[in-house]
Symmetry: C2
Subunit: 345 residues, 2 copies
């Protein structure tokens, strides 16, 4: 069991990482914060597997809200339904929202928590690898609108995050690969031993190293968040691969996993770097985990989606460029210059 403490300027909370302790999480939460009521937000698949461990407690009234699986639930409509259920259940600022699920559930539940009554407590229990290493860490919460992903949201930190790698045993391989997308991003972004560790693993041997890998990713992301909670500059490095990745996601109507889209974006950024070490290292990491088929897209399809990305401030675009493995820089260039460059690949 590991604990990472997120030491923000005005606020501190813990991220716990362990294996097979999910049955104790509700007890642990209530020992630290004796909430009167908890609204557990989860999705169909997770609810069938794990909701039992989170739906009954002798000291606390627990309601549950089960959303449909998938990105479509990160909508204003679903958020509205949860607001109404919270209000009808007389949830107050003393109560808790618990997000039990992957990135969709975490982002949606966190956004609802950030805005219901101008903010009530929430705790993340991420059940997907992607959520454990990325979306549950750092307080970025959001929902989608028809014009794009995460266009409506908040910076809003949880009271705690409880990560149990045992959840990952029931994940389909596609979801593991999606999480690996962000893990490989951290490796390419700062390295710090992650490249070597990962290239020596495979999909078969991964599980027994997950606690340390998740901890390492949480530590890396945590550092960026502590330095730049509201993403004014430094935190932008975490968007490595995301400019193109988000465009692919929108273009594919969210049917390609987020992690894979990040890999696709990073793959083109690696090409753009024209640095052989970057290309070779990324290829080795992709091979280790049998991630093939980095699809080819038609730039004319993706460009309009990129233009709408919220990170593309004003007429310029902030681009996370590879200098080398473990070394990136943020380059602010006119979107048209970037467009001309990538069209060559």
């Amino acid at each position: 069991m590991y604990t990472y403490t997120m030491n923000l300027k005005e606020y501190t909370y813990n991220i716990f990482i362990g294996e097979n302790y999910f049955n104790e999480i509700l007890d642990r939460i209530l020992q630290t914060h004796p909430y009167n009521k908890i609204m557990v937000i989860t999705d169909q698949t997770v609810s069938e597997l794990y909701l039992n461990a989170f739906s009954i407690h002798p000291d606390t009234f627990i309601e549950t809200f089960v959303v449909s699986d998938g990105e479509k639930s990160k909508s204003i409509e679903t958020a509205s339904q949860i607001y109404e259920k919270l209000a009808e259940g007389n949830f107050t600022r003393k109560d808790l929202i618990l997000a039990l699920g992957g990135g969709v559930v975490g982002d949606l539940a966190g956004f609802v928590a950030s805005t219901y009554l101008r903010g009530i407590d929430y705790i993340q229990v991420p059940t997907s690898l992607l959520a454990q290493v990325d979306s549950s860490v750092g307080g970025k919460v959001a929902i989608n609108i028809p014009q794009g992903k995460n266009l409506v949201g908040s910076f809003y930190q949880p009271k705690a995050v409880y990560i149990d790698v045992a959840f990952l045993k029931t994940l389909p391989i596609r979801e593991i690969k999606s999480g690996l997308g962000e893990i490989i991003k951290y490796a390419m972004l700062v390295d710090e031993g992650l490249v070597e560790k990962l290239t020596n693993l495979s999909l078969e041997t991964l599980y027994s190293h997950l606690q340390e890998i998740v901890l390492k990713c949480v530590e890396i992301k945590g550092r960026y968040v502590v330095e730049d909670e509201k993403e004014s500059f430094l935190r932008m490095h975490l968007n490595l691969g995301h400019t193109i990745g988000h465009a692919v996601e929108s273009y594919e109507n969210y049917e390609v996993s987020h992690g894979e889209c990040v890999l696709i974006g990073m793959y083109y950024m690696a090409k753009l770097s024209e640095n052989q070490t970057v290309m070779i290292t990324l290829d080795r990491l992709l091979n280790a985990f049998e991630i093939n088929n980095i699809y080819n897209y038609n730039w004319s399809d993706l460009i309009p989606y990129m233009k709408r990305d919220k990170k593309n401030s004003g007429y310029d675009i902030n681009l996370v460029m590879f200098k080398n493995v473990g070394e990136t820089e943020i380059v602010k260039i006119p979107f048209e210059v970037f467009e001309a460059s990538i069209r060559r690949y």
Copy 2:
């Protein structure tokens, strides 16, 4: 022209109070912050009277979004429409939302600004007396859901507030009286010369004293906000009259003005105080501005609405009680005790 500086812990901004300078506001904003794009959010009535002064500028692209008059526009549906217009117009974190209107427009536009792209800048130009002395000050923004008023929102400070009392010349008397509701609340809450000043005025003589009165109210509210931005305790005093007031508002389907509802709530709190000075002072203030007909309500109708108020944490209720004119205290009592007390009046 007065300037009040809101000195928050992490952030400072100015509230400007003047007369008949609204034609210069756009210039002043752009001199301080050279925004690329501005989305002006306003309502039907205000747009007909004043939008001209805010819709064209040689240096900046300005779009406008006109909502229907009235509380119904403070909805998730209207917020969604604005999000979509912002996204379609490629508004980024470098752009501005300008709220030109009363409390409905300010709350709605501020909430959209707090959540679009996880927060973009907004500036308030309040055009109603209520918004000038209350809702535009302090960063509480929100929308309504069917279950109640302001149940979804944020604490989100504007970049600046530009108050022009000239807007008030075109306000119907009902709206002036609504603003007076909150002004009288400040007088009853802290006094500081406001009681005497106000009792010597009338609806006819009010206008020529408005700049100083608005400044005084902004200063009073500002002090509470600076001490307790997120309303953990001290700021609750500003809710004087609001527990019952909000219930009346919901019960009346928002057809009775907010300020009048606050007066109704304060009136019952004055009765409950059983303090003659409080009762007499409030009566004199109401008489000075010809505010009669403090309606009688059936408690059985109002109680369910009070129970749902977001300030009523857990099973207890935080009540702002009069000790005397200019002196209040927050009393935490079980809702049932409060219910039994007010049922006697």
